[in-house]
């Protein structure tokens, strides 16, 4: 029992060390690129998971924070020729700044308002980024010259993912975490237990926006190119974040990571094998997973057990 606890504590560190050793053996840029993409989606998944999975506030438009993070970095260079690396500071802060009014307005209400307002915000920002050409360069996008090799970006995003994982776990294992989960389970009960639900939902949103914006800024640096269709995308960012979390297991620490691995690798494999039908096959697979293991792949053992004894 005790040994199991120890193992559980050390597991994230172990995974981190194994991942840190990967570039020592594997220098294939394609493999490294795939791993970087997985890590990006782990960052995004766990950010969404804090708000949607633990606090129960589903957002259909996290691309808003992602895109704002990416554009914060890109615009620094585009207008002032300031290195996009400063975007890694500015991006998360800007994301938090736009999160504040969203939270203050929507979290007074319950139900679908927040989810839909986020959807609207992301679409609105996409349109602004597309049409305000003098400021954002419109749909041509922003192009920079990448400064480092894949290994460098790999380590950077690995550190980001680990940082996010650590912070979110610390938060969840604190008073705030108890409050977030209590809010998810029952807002009336939470209020009557002395929890300022509006305030704590906002805290959760701010942390989530911070990490999403940070990842967006990293994406700008790594890909060296962004345009509004890519970073403000409803399907490729907002919905994908939800899928990553739901497939892996919402409201768990490892769920988003598992979901990210599945989504990134499967969509790549399917693209290679099923040609233009790849989205169809991926879609069918997602439906199957959601039908048969609705709590996410992380709970697969429980479902296997259930069928065995049923």
């Amino acid at each position: 029992m005790e040994r199991k606890m120890e193992f559980k504590k050390l597991l994230p560190l172990l995974i981190f060390l194994v991942l840190a050793l990967v570039p020592a053996f594997e220098r294939n840029p394609y493999i490294l690129h795939m791993m970087i993409m997985v890590l990006i989606w782990i960052c995004l998944g766990q950010s969404w998971n804090l708000l949607g999975g633990f606090t129960g506030q589903v957002s259909f438009g996290h691309a808003a924070f992602y895109g704002v993070g990416a554009y914060s970095a890109g615009l620094l260079y585009f207008h002032k020729e300031i290195s996009t690396w400063y975007g890694m500071i500015l991006g998360p802060l800007t994301a938090m700044v736009i999160a504040v009014p969203m939270g203050l307005i929507c979290f007074r209400l319950r139900g679908a308002y927040f989810a839909l307002a986020m959807l609207a915000l992301a679409e609105l920002l996409r349109l602004v980024a597309t049409n305000w050409i003098s400021f954002t360069n419109g749909s041509v996008g922003i192009l920079i010259v990448p400064v480092a090799g894949k290994v460098f970006y790999y380590y950077l995003v690995l550190v980001l993912a680990a940082f996010g994982f650590y912070v979110i776990r610390r938060v969840i294992n604190s008073k705030w975490g108890f409050y977030f989960v209590a809010i998810r389970e029952d807002q009336d009960a939470a209020e009557s237990m002395g929890i300022d639900t509006t305030k704590y939902k906002l805290f959760s949103l701010l942390i989530s926006a911070f990490f999403t914006g940070l990842t967006g800024a990293f994406y700008m640096n790594y890909m060296a190119f962004i345009d509004p269709m890519v970073v403000f995308s409803l399907t490729d960012v907002s919905i994908m974040m939800i899928l990553v979390v739901m497939l892996g297991g919402a409201g768990t620490f490892y769920g988003p990571a598992i979901g990210a691995v599945i989504m990134v690798i499967l969509s790549e494999v399917f693209r290679a094998y099923f040609g233009s039908a790849n989205l169809l096959v991926l879609g069918i697979l997602i439906v199957l997973i959601i039908v048969f293991i609705p709590d996410g792949v992380i709970e697969i053992r429980r479902y296997l057990k259930r069928t065995k004894y049923a």
Partner: protein
């Protein structure tokens, strides 16, 4: 301790609570009774801040608390339970109570100590590692009380904590309510089961259609003509 003054709540044209006034003294067990739909739970929701009264006010230790949000009212020292229990289903019993204990403390360790103490006091210790959704209705009602107690209230509002309990659980619930009063906590209780309300209340306030019928000791209220009429009909009065 707790005073309700001319409290009125309209839902559209429906007067759920009308010009209701009563005063709960410190250390009292104060019963609020009335037939179904009389407005008892609405009174609770008005006191605890879920509803804003149409007019009138609620005073806690002489200070108006009308308009405060439920979480602020809880922090001031008024805790409540729900008639339709609201367990935090996917948390364990201990976690439920800890989340509540954070009302007064900040560290995990202190919250856990506090929660364990409260679980012991309320007799729910043996269920501490169960998921809240796996509890029986009796234990869920007890969890409601435990969670309310973990916020260190001065006044606790109990909304039909005895409904749906079997006779053994009923006796345990009565014992627990008495034990809470021994802590010096003032109790405002809504209850349908006469055995409970008549045996533990110091004073009872009877309402019907949102209006006061009478107030007095359990004996006085039980013999009141209007109360009997409201519950059993004119033929029995």
């Amino acid at each position: 301790m707790l005073e309700v003054k001319n409290l009125t709540k309209f839902f559209g044209g429906l007067g759920a609570v009308r010009e209701l006034s009563f005063k709960v003294e410190k250390g009292q067990i104060f019963g609020l009774i009335g037939p179904n739909g009389a407005g008892k739970t609405t009174v609770f929701n008005l006191i605890n801040g879920f509803y804003l009264p149409t007019s009138g006010e609620v005073l806690f230790k002489g200070e108006p608390i009308t308009g405060l949000k439920p979480n602020a009212i809880c922090k001031k020292g008024i805790a409540r339970t729900f008639q339709l229990v609201k367990p935090l289903s996917r948390m364990t019993v201990l976690e439920n109570v800890m989340a509540s204990a954070f009302c007064r403390v900040n560290s995990i360790k202190k919250a856990q100590e506090e929660a364990l103490k409260t679980l012991e006091f309320c007799g729910l210790m043996h269920r501490k590692n169960y998921l809240a959704r796996s509890l029986t209705i009796g234990d869920r009602k007890r969890l409601e009380i435990t969670r309310a107690m973990a916020t260190h209230p001065e006044v606790i509002l109990l909304d039909e904590t005895a409904a749906g309990l079997n006779p053994t659980e009923l006796d345990q619930a009565i014992a627990l309510i008495r034990k809470i009063r021994e802590q010096g906590i003032t109790i405002l209780i809504v209850e349908h089961i006469m055995k409970v309300i008549m045996s533990i209340s110091d004073r009872i306030h009877a309402i019907n259609y949102g209006e006061t019928i009478t107030e007095g000791t359990p004996q006085e209220v039980a013999n009141n003509k209007a109360v009997i009429e409201a519950y059993l009909g004119e033929a029995y009065a």
